[in-house]
């Protein structure tokens, strides 16, 4: 037991040494724009925090005042549009950068030793970013916000169908704790406001502790890049005034209704699945993401050298894009689609598995051929090159 703990401690120490969260200095590819993503994550996060605090000066967190106050911020208050635009587009950029970085780390094999902890923290930050997103856009109290909050927090009530927790009402308790009661109303805004702010406050403290302990740089970008991002976002906020939507009406769900873009694929998936699975599937996805460094045990980092995990990543990307397109076109034939999707998934994963096996076999054969004659009787001359 103690030995296991000691091992774990050593593992953590080692990974902490190689933690690369924002500055990307552990890679030698700084000329590649994909390696500015770490810096961009920090930059957009700071933009979101600063603009968020500025928005708090005018925002009223009540069911009756929220929508009006945001309307006021967007249209009446001098530079209010800028604060709101920076907050909204900064958040979009944050999620985009984290997502792109996850895909980069996945396909470039950067989650492998010693990057496991960096990968897990990045993945957790995507989850926290999405929670921050959904708690944040309820605060506008428009239709999109209201129905997103309601559907997302109805999902846990289905946990009460799981045999072991059946009679405890735990699922409903989770929903009630987040909503502050059995309905989406004032207490929900108050609690979502607290969670929305709290996530960033706690993470900023943790990040600062990290910077203090490791002396790593916060923003490893050229001044030009930073200026470019800020100018672009200012232009975006000015040119594309953030939408208001319609005031939340608990008695009417509009058709069609969409969520924010990073939930769209999940939303389409929920149409296809029984609701209990809709609650479990995201947990499985997060679990897979967290466990990837320990499932993929090879030392290869190049994508084509580990075909199975490469295909899984491609499939995830294809589903993310495909489902997003389907929901935006409002196409979902529920009796037809799920078997097709299931069949495609099974076939593709099987083929990927066969590819992986064939690849390993080929490599093994190549290694055998490359091997010199059995030890003990050293072959004269040089060993044949592999």
């Amino acid at each position: 037991m103690d030995a296991v703990l000691a091992d774990l401690k050593e593992w953590l120490q080692d990974r902490k040494q190689h933690l690369d969260l924002f500055d990307e200095t552990k890679t030698a590819r700084l000329d590649n724009p994909l390696y500015t993503l770490g810096g961009l994550v920090w930059l957009s996060w700071m933009i979101v925090i600063v603009s968020g605090v500025i928005l708090m000066l005018w925002y009223i967190p009540t069911t009756t005042g929220a929508y009006q106050s945001i309307m006021h911020i967007t249209y009446d208050i001098p530079l209010g549009w800028l604060a709101r635009g920076m907050h909204k587009y900064g958040a979009d950029m944050l999620i985009t950068c984290i997502t792109l970085r996850i895909y980069r780390m996945y396909f470039a094999g950067e989650y492998k030793k010693p990057g496991e902890l960096s990968w897990m923290i990045l993945f957790a930050s995507l989850v926290l970013g999405m929670i921050s997103g959904i708690t944040g856009y309820l605060l506008i109290w428009n239709q999109r916000a209201f129905w997103a909050a309601k559907t997302v927090l109805t999902v846990p009530t289905y946990y009460d169908e799981i045999p072991l927790v059946k009679n405890t009402g735990l699922g409903h308790a989770i929903a009630y704790i987040f909503l502050g009661g059995p309905a989406v109303a004032q207490a929900a805004i108050t609690r979502f406001y607290a969670i929305h702010l709290g996530i960033s406050v706690l993470l900023v403290i943790l990040a600062e502790v990290f910077f203090y302990r490791t002396r790593r740089r916060r923003l490893n970008l050229s001044l030009f890049t930073v200026a470019l991002v800020i100018v672009f976002m200012t232009w975006l906020s000015f040119d594309r005034l953030t939408e208001m939507g319609r005031w939340a009406n608990p008695n009417r769900t509009p058709l069609p209704i969409l969520s924010d873009w990073y939930f769209l694929a999940l939303y389409q998936l929920v149409k296809y699945m029984p609701p209990l699975w809709a609650g479990i599937a995201p947990a499985l996805l997060i679990g897979y993401g967290m466990a990837v460094p320990f499932l993929d045990r090879t030392k290869e980092t190049r994508a084509l050298e580990r075909p199975f995990f490469f295909v899984v990543g491609l499939l995830a990307l294809a589903y993310f894009i495909g489902f997003t397109v389907l929901i935006m076109l409002n196409i979902a034939v529920i009796s037809r689609d799920p078997p097709v999707i299931f069949a495609v998934t099974v076939v593709v994963l099987t083929l990927a598995f066969i590819w992986e096996m064939a690849h390993r076999r080929r490599k093994r054969l190549a290694a055998q051929q490359a091997k010199p004659a059995p030890p003990g009787r050293p072959a004269p001359g040089a060993a044949p090159a592999g």
Partner: protein, 214 residues
Amino acid sequence: MRFDRRGLLKTLTALPVIGGLLAILSPLLRYLKPNDGPYQLPLTDQDRPQGGAQVVGKTTSLQKPWDFFYFTYVQQYAQYDATGFKKANIAGVAVRLPKKVKFALPPELGGFVGYPGETDIVLFQRICPHLGCIFNFIPDWHEVTAGYGGYVPPDWERHSLMACPCHLSIYDPAFPDKPGNVISGPAPRGARYFRYEIRGEDIVVTGAEEGGIA
């Protein structure tokens, strides 16, 4: 893992410590969910919204088959904020069916039944039993096929239907023995019921099936 004398003693000491921590933490969780007594966090008895009897409409506005109207049934519940009790609206729809149906008694409803006898006026909660959006009554089934995901009902269901904008579940208000049953989409069950009576011309709702987030 070895279980020597020391390990056993450590485990035995840890148990009461963990138990004590749980005993201290459990009441603290009531800060988040104050309606329950100590040590009973997951039970939600105090959270039940209460409505009482309310007249929601008149039978005279449902003359012909497939006439319908929307209404709201207002319940009181204790919200966890400084203002205490709040109103929760449960959106509902009342429909006149072409022929009488009887509400069956599915075991999962715990004996809750919409209307005790045969009736051709049926009431449903419009809160989707899937994930809580408000579904619509669609007088013409073609609209379901066009806007709600391309579902084409079989011949015997080509009449008014109910459909949810969020995840495209479709309900049949005249489903034999189980009015409001789900006929397409991800919903695990049919529409929730009201308990109601018809007193003269008044349609009186006396209770609403529980379980949804309003």
